[in-house]
């Protein structure tokens, strides 16, 4: 399903997971507009983002820094950012800059989206803390004790 909510282009959603295409030339010039598009999503609660890197042909240190920044923001808000369909160029650059292992990467966007759904976080309300999916309602537990 393709949407253009929040001004984000090239974006697909699969449930609460957002899939976004990384531009072909992901360098200093392209990072600003990319971040402007992705920023509102990162500000949301528990952002779950998949970046499709299949089109990436070049990426500079600013681009890599932007990816790391996005990952950091997503993790801060109890979400995650995963990479999918890494082009050989993207793979080489991420390896060169020693950040390949920082990201969880998948062969396809679908696999990356499914990986989010592997943990039944959808069962928990979106505004509940992350541990509620695992431990349930701690308040009820406390009352019972």
């Amino acid at each position: 399903m393709e949407i253009n909510s929040k001004g984000v282009k090239n974006m697909l959603t699969s449930g609460p997971v957002v899939v976004m295409q990384v531009p072909e030339q992901f360098n200093a010039g392209a990072v600003q507009s990319f971040m402007e598009e992705l920023g509102p999503l990162l500000d949301s609660n528990r952002p779950r983002i998949v970046l499709d890197c299949s089109q990436v042909r070049s990426m500079d240190s600013v681009g890599v820094e932007a990816l790391l920044q996005c990952l950091e923001e997503a993790l801060k808000r109890d979400g995650d950012l995963k990479l999918a369909s890494l082009s050989p160029e993207a793979e080489v650059i991420l390896e060169l800059m020693r950040v390949a292992r920082v990201f969880e990467a998948f062969q396809t966007s679908e696999e990356a989206v499914r990986s989010f759904n592997a943990i039944p976080v959808d069962a928990a309300p979106q505004d509940a803390p992350w541990y509620s999916a695992v431990f349930g309602d701690l308040g009820a537990l406390k009352q019972a004790s």
Partner: protein, 336 residues
């Protein structure tokens, strides 16, 4: 027996252009690969040195790119730059007044016994002798200069139309048809599988350093490895798994170079992980992924110094040829 040699650095023009795309992108094609410094010396420089040792009286290099005036002015070896290298080679071969002329197109790195090949040529009495090995023909001939004159100075036609005796080269041959071959040549040089040995001092077993190479105390070099002249390896770097850093290059703080070649005049930035690659300035060829990248970020990779020096055509080639110290048994070729 007076023997001359013409070394052609340029295309063969008869259909062996099926080179990897990445090769073309890296501009390692044909002659330029032979002019790139590998383990401290170019294939062209090593070939000329070998010919000089083999008592070849006159040597001329015909290339499809221009040399600097300093190189052209060398006394012992004649250099000619022209688009039609084969015609130039033909003219040079005819001008030698030699009994036999060795003709080599680089290309391939070949270790052969010139004296043995010349003797074979003399015994078989054919106007052309062409070398081959198990993988097929090599671009190495011995020609009778008179046969060249009979073909209107068209050396290519002459070589193609004349029935040639085939001489089998039993020595080491690397056809250098792709960057992968270059890495193989480096590995073979380190392992002493050929005479393509690193130029410099073996400071520890399997670690060679050329004059002027600087390695910071906190850097680690794991054998086999080669650090070229005036190169700098910064603190906390690791150079390992048969890597070679050629002359005037710099590897900055904390970077790991693994199973890779850093060609001359290249800067490799801070905290990088370079593996299974060949780097030439801001171009990176990853052999594992088969990807050629142009890195526009000078913090990561960049060309150092004058671009004329980088290809090895001028500076590194001249520096490593060392023709002045090599005695020539007869009068050098004049009028280049």
């Amino acid at each position: 027996m007076v023997v001359g040699a013409v070394v052609i650095v340029g295309p063969s023009d008869w259909g062996d252009a099926s080179m990897e795309l990445s090769t073309a992108k890296l501009q390692l094609k044909y002659g330029s690969l032979a002019c790139m410094e590998v383990l401290g010396r170019t294939v062209l420089g090593r070939t000329i040195e070998e010919l000089m040792r083999g008592k070849v009286h006159s040597i001329s290099v015909a290339a499809d790119f221009s040399f600097s005036s300093a190189v052209v002015g060398e006394d012992n070896v004649g250099f000619s730059a022209s688009k039609d290298v084969w015609r130039t080679a033909s003219e040079k071969a005819a001008s030698f007044n030699a009994d036999a002329v060795l003709l080599i197109r680089l290309g391939a790195y070949m270790e052969f016994d010139a004296a043995d090949m010349l003797q074979f040529h003399g015994v078989h009495g054919k106007p052309v002798t062409r070398a081959c090995n198990d993988d097929g023909w090599l671009d190495l001939w011995v020609i009778d200069p008179k046969s060249v004159a009979g073909h209107d100075n068209d050396l290519r036609s002459s070589l193609q139309s004349t029935a040639a005796a085939s001489y089998v080269v039993s020595g080491y041959v690397n056809r250098l048809e792709s960057p992968r071959d270059m890495r193989r040549l480096v590995a073979d040089g380190f392992a002493a599988r050929c005479d393509f040995r690193p130029q410099g001092s073996e400071v520890k077993p399997g670690i060679w350093m050329a004059p002027g190479a600087q390695v910071e105390r906190g850097a680690r070099i794991v054998a086999p490895a080669f650090i070229g002249g005036n190169s700098k390896i910064a603190d906390q770097c690791l150079i390992t798994r048969g890597s070679n850093v050629e002359s005037n290059s710099q590897v900055d703080y904390g970077t790991v170079i693994e199973n890779s070649t850093v060609l001359s005049n290249t800067y490799v930035g801070i905290g990088l992980d370079l593996s299974h690659s060949i780097v030439d300035g801001d171009n990176l060829l990853n052999l594992q992924h088969g990807v050629m990248l142009h890195i526009s970020d000078p913090v990561v990779l960049r060309q150092m110094r004058d671009s004329r020096v980088r290809s090895g055509i001028d500076g590194s080639f001249l520096a490593n040829l060392d023709v002045r110290n090599m005695a020539m048994p007869s009068a050098p070729e004049k009028g280049q």
